[in-house]
Symmetry: C2
Subunit: 344 residues, 2 copies
DNA sequence: ATCCAAACTGTAAGCGCTTCCACTCCGACC
DNA sequence: GGTCGGAGTGGAAGCGCTTACAGTTTGGAT
């Protein structure tokens, strides 16, 4: 504890007594508000140092009626994306004096309760994707909690930030069709998240524009495990074997490619494969994985900023940001681009 | 705001008034403490629901003199490890009713200040690796903040949790030497982190035990960029070219392998390469990357538990945990194990 | 009928901080 | 020499909650 490893932590009263000043002045010095003499400033600084004074944020929050903290609710933390997202978020928050309290709902026995508790200790909350069900989100709204949604279908009264999906997916699919592929399949369950449904929508639209029948999606979870099992099925489908697989994420695509490599199916000659996310492995496998890169850090940064605008009230109209994605062409899609896997 | 989107959020007074009871009873119902009649419980629950009441945690923290929150200080969030670490941490914390406030120091203009602020809003802090300099850590200690260090050299009075490094590195190095390698190099700067220095120590010890001269480390940062430049140097070293590279992490190793692949150097025939961390890409490259897996989630879990023990005071003696790592043999080390890159 | 304990409920005192307001200086200006 | 204004300071209220303590009921047992 402050003031030596014994006794309870020093409070502002201790500092005031030690500096022979009132707590009001101590507060003014420490917060840099109001007029204070140089002498007072110095005395307070020294007293605070000597007592190892750390202001109790809870008391300040109570007094100023603000937590200066954001809540961030994520479904999960596996994979590299969330790290980048969090990074971008934390960065912005840190630069603007906001703390970040995170909560992961996947595996949480009572997300609703957890999130309501969170709501009590922050000024606003950012929710990613399907981390929370809509009733819970509505509950937060009714409780008056400023809310920003990331990669989530729009909810009235909430801001949202997401990366563009449909059009990149369409562009990617069109490219494959342009290069003579005629039996593409979409791998991944559109119902698993809003993002994935948009990717499938783009995939579908590319087909519709050419008046092709839209293939039904292969509804599987977005895991390596699922990738392997899909690969097996593809292998066994003698007739009507697809000549291209548009995967909802890189994990699926990588697992597929690895499986094919071990079973004599050539990528991209026999079948083309694309992913989504541009994980590190995507540029190290051979052939390099064609994929779509999302600006995760930027997504986090923008979300933080939007929430702050809401919290401070500088903006009240809802706002929906859509960030551009980037198509990363490598060899797995067989469309003639080869960058030798040496790009960063 | 609660009680309709107008007006300020409902307080415990509003709930009490609405339920025609005292705030004391409301508190007792909501916290489940003390005796309350079924009637009162019901009235309070309903009132709280109707008013969308969310208890203000700052007020509770102030009253109970505890935040029920942990601080987590990380140097960075890039790479998959931190995600897993955070996951393990958050999981444990969530299950034990603790919130997690995270702070990233890399790129932070004033980590000390940020961390002191953090100290004011949590019950204890976990610091990873070199996220903080020792003076700052001492400062926290003097302020009486319970502290747990992850992957950090021991500091008196603090608990620590790390994964075993030296012995795995020694084992790995010995294995390479056993298979006839005679000119190994260690890639990565031992000064960059405690973990890396231990890995180098193990590498060195393996040499010493055979009375071989210990090669100086190739002091480079642990990045893909550095991996490429090291690869170039290796390529140019006509005489005295190393026949094996023990890398401090997978990023370095992967970049090296990719570069070699593009320049006609065969791995593992001409040169063997090993990494550290077992990132996803490690099992998708060809040859598969031999590496060492750390139990990141477990590291997080244990750290959370240790901190909680400290905060609640159930343990006061310092404790240092060392978690086992796992050597993952694949083809890049050329020691005859091949698992076809199909393991998960 | 009376009394007692147990069950429940309310009053009020904090928790540590910010900030409004009042007050005291003190130098500058008429 | 008196007045005014601003700089500096302190007193005290209040933020929303918990909880010790005291008070009120209730339902048996006597």
């Amino acid at each position: 504890m402050a003031s030596g490893p014994t006794g309870r932590p020093a409070t502002i009263y201790d500092v005031a007594a030690h500096a022979k000043l009132s707590i009001a002045t101590v507060s003014r010095v420490l917060q840099g508000t109001g007029p204070v003499s140089a002498k007072a400033r110095e005395r307070v600084d020294q007293a605070a140092r000597e007592l190892n004074y750390v202001p109790l944020r809870a008391a300040r929050s109570l007094a100023v009626q603000r937590h200066e903290a954001h809540g961030l609710v994520l479904p999960d933390l596996a994979g590299p994306f969330y790290g980048d997202l969090l990074m971008g978020y934390e960065r912005w928050a840190g630069e603007h004096g906001q703390s970040v309290v995170i909560t992961v709902t996947h595996g949480n026995p009572d997300p609703r309760r957890t999130v309501m508790d969170l709501a009590g200790r922050v000024d606003g909350i950012v929710v990613h994707g399907n981390a929370l069900d809509v009733p819970t989100i509505q509950g937060l709204r009714k409780a008056g909690v400023p809310l920003v949604l990331i990669a989530h279908p729009p909810v009235t009264g909430c801001d949202s930030v997401r990366s563009e999906s449909a059009s990149s997916a369409e562009q990617l699919t069109t490219r494959l069709l342009d290069h003579g592929r005629e039996n593409l399949q979409f791998v991944g369950d559109p119902a698993s998240s809003h993002d994935v449904s948009e990717r499938y929508a783009g995939f579908a639209k590319a087909h519709e524009l050419r008046e092709l029948q839209v293939p039904k999606p292969v509804r599987v979870p977005l895991t390596e495990e699922a990738g392997r099992s899909v690969a097996e099925k593809v292998l066994q489908a003698m007739n009507d074997r697809p000549d291209g697989l548009v995967c909802a994420n890189d994990e699926l695509a990588l697992a597929l490619i690895a499986f094919f490599a071990g079973h004599g199916i050539r990528v991209p000659e026999d079948i083309v494969v694309t992913g989504w996310d541009d994980v590190m492995a995507a540029r190290y496998v051979s052939p390099g994985l064609t994929t779509v890169r999302q600006p995760m850090a930027e997504l986090g940064r923008v979300a933080a900023e939007r929430l702050h605008e809401r919290v401070t009230g500088v903006r009240t109209r809802a706002r929906n940001d859509v960030l551009a994605t980037q198509l990363v062409l490598r060899d797995s899609c067989g469309t003639g681009i080869s960058n030798r896997g040496m790009e960063r």
